[in-house]
Symmetry: C3
Subunit: 456 residues, 3 copies
């Protein structure tokens, strides 16, 4: 694939465009195929919270958007945590009593307990069992298991396969290393007119799991590329971090920058067939919460809104009480609520190109709301201004239906007293935000309205 696919290339042209144009120019088929192609490329790489797999994956994303890689050395104290030793996998194989290879991380990297310590030796089945992980209730799936902070070794396999293991002596080869090194994360900042920032954060530490979270990584990178070509009021910060330790490390090393984050979304699980789900920030009714809900409500699709809970993805960290950032999470089916979650069932088939593009579109629309959610002041606040003489109103009166465009103008005029933003007006009028935005633009062009503070 090329660094800049045709479907979205024009966003990078010299003059910056309105975000709405990017939405309108999205070609579901091309964009979906491009995003899915990168997911396929990333799928076989063995990622973890540190190591070469993570690094290689971020380099693939650099072909989509120009993110910078940062390294945080092993042993660095980040709040209550310490950056662990770097983990790398050379090989992991389990051979049976007859010498046949039963599990091989080269073919499926979920087979190795993620962060497994090195081990080599022969063990009898009863001893081996203590190091095996399977799912009795989903016997055909290989589970995804980790042991980041307790040194251990192990294999993950389907329960069906486990049931077939015969007594005898097994040969374990876990050729991994746990050495001083660093934790890697990717970052990209798109400056805007304001120093206030919008954060997009994706976790990148999961190995061969397609929806959670290759879909999120690729959506975030594609979003970064598209927003690069957009006229931006806000500054946008994209973080590609290993889960938990990565966001904690970033927060610990960038506390001052974190205070600039005005709005944020944690992106994950955006490719499955389920409906979109918005999880509110800890604040519960922040502008990002209202913008996301506005977009979902106007999408014409079924959707779900959840209150904040202190478990889930990295919103746990961004919304910890010492930061309490206005960061929500926009996903499709929430983590843990689809049967393939954190198993080998979360594969390339689970992620659908059209759903990726639908999710991408909603992210863009949320940012469209943030970008254009200005507060206007009606310059003719006493009585209604005469729209007719400015060509904004029909000349024959008396009909029982007023056109939606005129009603949108009346709403914007009526509530633009300096204390209602367009989002406030959308919520009160129950009219689509985009209609009200257009009405505000028409009224501003007719000098009936002015933005209260273009910079803020």
């Amino acid at each position: 694939m090329t660094a800049m696919p045709a479907s979205t290339a024009r966003a990078r042209s010299d003059h910056l465009v309105d975000i709405r144009e990017v939405v309108d120019a999205l070609d579901p088929q091309t964009a979906g195929a491009e995003m899915h192609a990168i997911i396929r490329e990333l799928y076989p790489i063995c990622r973890s919270i540190t190591g070469e797999g993570l690094r290689r994956s971020l380099r693939v994303l650099q072909r989509v958007a120009p993110l910078t890689l940062h390294e945080v050395a092993t042993g660095t104290a980040v709040f209550d945590w310490t950056v662990p030793r770097e983990w790398n996998l050379t090989a992991a194989r389990l051979s049976g009593p007859d010498g046949e290879v039963i599990l091989d991380a080269d073919r499926m990297n979920l087979h190795v307990l993620n962060y497994s310590a090195p081990f080599r030796g022969k063990v009898r089945l009863d001893e081996l069992e203590k190091h095996l992980f399977s799912l009795p209730e989903q016997p055909s799936y290989i589970p995804y298991r980790t042991s980041y902070y307790k040194e251990d070794w192990g294999f993950c396999l389907s329960h069906d396969q486990r049931a077939r293991l015969r007594p005898g002596e097994y040969e374990v080869l876990i050729d991994t290393s746990l050495t001083d090194g660093s934790l890697t994360y990717g970052e990209l900042v798109l400056p805007g007119a304001l120093t206030d920032e919008v954060l997009v954060s994706a976790h990148c530490c999961h190995p061969s799991l397609a929806n959670d979270n290759l879909s999120g990584m690729v959506l975030a990178a594609t979003l970064a590329r598209l927003l690069g070509g957009v006229a931006r009021r806000y500054t946008y910060r994209f973080l590609f971090v290993p889960g938990t330790i990565g966001s904690i490390a970033w927060l610990a090393l960038n506390e001052e920058k974190a205070r600039r984050i005005a709005h944020g979304l944690v992106v994950a699980g955006v490719g499955d067939a389920g409906r979109l789900t918005y999880k509110r920030s800890r604040r519960g009714d922040a502008e990002i919460d209202r913008a996301a809900i506005q977009v979902l409500a106007q999408s014409g699709q079924d959707y779900d809104v959840r209150d904040f809970t202190p478990y889930g993805y990295d919103e746990r960290q961004y919304c910890s009480p010492g930061f309490d950032l206005a960061v929500g999470s926009l996903t499709r089916t929430p983590h843990g609520e689809y049967p393939e979650y954190h198993t080998s069932g979360d594969n390339l088939d689970l992620v659908r190109p059209d759903r990726l593009v639908d999710s991408l579109r909603r992210y863009l629309e949320v940012f469209e709301v943030l970008e254009s959610n200005l507060t206007y002041v009606n310059l003719f606040p006493r009585g209604e201004p005469q729209l007719g003489k400015r060509g904004l109103y029909g000349s024959v009166g008396g009909g029982s239906h007023t056109a939606a465009t005129q009603i949108a103008m009346l709403w914007v005029l009526n509530l633009s007293d300096g204390s209602h933003s367009l989002l406030d007006i959308a919520e009160r009028s129950k009219m689509p935000f985009a209609d009200l935005r257009r009405a505000a633009q028409a009224l501003e062009a007719a000098r009936l309205l002015r933005a209260k503070d273009r910079s803020g």
Copy 2:
């Protein structure tokens, strides 16, 4: 009809009465017949936003209540608008190829496009069609159409009749005048103990349309007459104005007076068979909103409450952000929601005498709430005062039901801490306002309670 019908005459006697007595004295049959008689008298007059038809109509209302007529000269700037030239209709006739008179504004004034420019001449059918207005989906009704601010001429007719027009040459006679003159409105102020005002505003510009808004004009005038005989805490201001331009003109010329309006209702469409509908003020929870909803909730009838929208009647102007007055609208079926709206179907049969009186009664009750919505202070706030020794409580105890009058007294005593008005108490207790008012009066007479501030 006489200036002061028997059914309501006593309200004008020398000593002013309590508004409740006026409500109780309302005789539905007599009052309904009187109101309908005035509507019948007004119906044939060709009203518009200026002109003799409007003036004549206001003079008819002067026989009901002593309103004053004001004239605002053509060309007067009123905020973003300019008072237009005065329009008067002498005749409007359309004759067919065979010379027969097809449409005649003398028989039905809806036939002429309201504010039609003068025109006289012969036009072929295909040219005439550009000047005709009809309703394909309501083929038997003549639509009401206007062209106030764009000079044009035209006829309105039923779609059935239009379908029968044969090709050929038609003779158009539109004998109207558009000349410098003035815009007329009626006003009546009933002074009260307070300079704070209650506004009642009715639009008077519609020609032969009975519910919208002869019903509102006549209800407002009747209300003015009745309130003239009532002991008033508030000052009441009645406005009879052409829609939009009239209320804008009044606001522009009376900005300081407008600031005194503490509560207001726009009256329109109060004679049809539909349920009562209250449209909240822009503020949404103003005292007028709560008073109106309280009255409807206690009416024992089905009713509807709507949030404010910036389209509708003159509440659009009173609730424009530069004024944001606490003005709601109490109607029966809302504008545009009944099939006869703004057509010849809105005729004398659509308006029912009994519904007019029911609407009138609710207006009076809303004002009763406003008038008596005082905040009291319990003079025995520690524990309950002993009602029994004052004859306010039954002497034999132990029964499981406490009489409503005693429960009303307990509510008033319990919440009269100086920060709850009677309306607050009605809302919290879900008891009828009138019961609580009576309880407060009994407690005040027993010196257990005193009004916090009689004047405010």
Copy 3:
């Protein structure tokens, strides 16, 4: 019965225990039998708002908990009221035309109008009828009627019996006395670490009525005994008062103490088979209201919550506007809503031992919430602290279900920003208060959390 039944004796041991241990140690069968036995002992005594019956009843309760008896002399002014003359009953009998005894207060003390003035003489049936009280719609029940503040005499009887009275002359013997004496109430204070008080108030003036309110009297006394053995943050005050005049007298004579009441419950009607019902304090959303609702919501049983009304039991006085104390009422079926209310049907069978214990348990649980509803401060507020290294989190990651104990810890950490109490966290997380309390204790032990203000 003994002063300290085995089932609850350990609460009085030398070292004070956690209230949760008292709840867990409650033996429904023993405790229920003990409480019902006291109710049976109290049932035949003729109580009123003053007099020997009231005094004797309080002395029975002294065997359960060491309450002190106070006397307030006849004629004492208590706010708007005056303590009445003391009433005592020696005998009350009605004999028929044939000399047979028809009614005898010795057999059923409801037969005498409570506070009946003395009377002796012969009256004809038509005269007698003016002094009889019965219930035509519940013809088999004897009503409970009083005449405290109007001197009168009378008998209460079943309507069936009344219907059988034949014309003729009846002999009335009402041997009562109304003399200067005093009003008696019981009081018990259990000091705690705080001077802030929790009030428990039971009315004690009803004669042979088992649910209303022998159940409340006995529950309050049992609660006092159990809380005596508990480590207390709050000071607890128990009042056993005649209804209305008793609580008013206490408030009038203890105004300063009343201001220390931070939370309170009026206990009554706690033994019938109905569901638990919480009636909010006048404040509506006080901590006691939220604690009680939390307990009911987590009880796993059907329950009901009612808004405050200024009628009911002594919450009327505690919530009068001059005090406005945070006092709610926790009952089973509310007063007046069961057919046996204030009739002879409210007898020993209506009160069920298991329901008494269930009610007692909920009172204890409400106080457990109040006692432990602290506000904590997360000492590692930036990002999550690493629970794993402290043994508070599983070491193998990736599973889709997080244990409830860990989720409880995440909630407590996330919301412990110094402005959320454990009750706030319970309401937001919808997790059981007890789970969150345990989580907070574990986190405090791990030095991740500290209580903001142990004393307050």
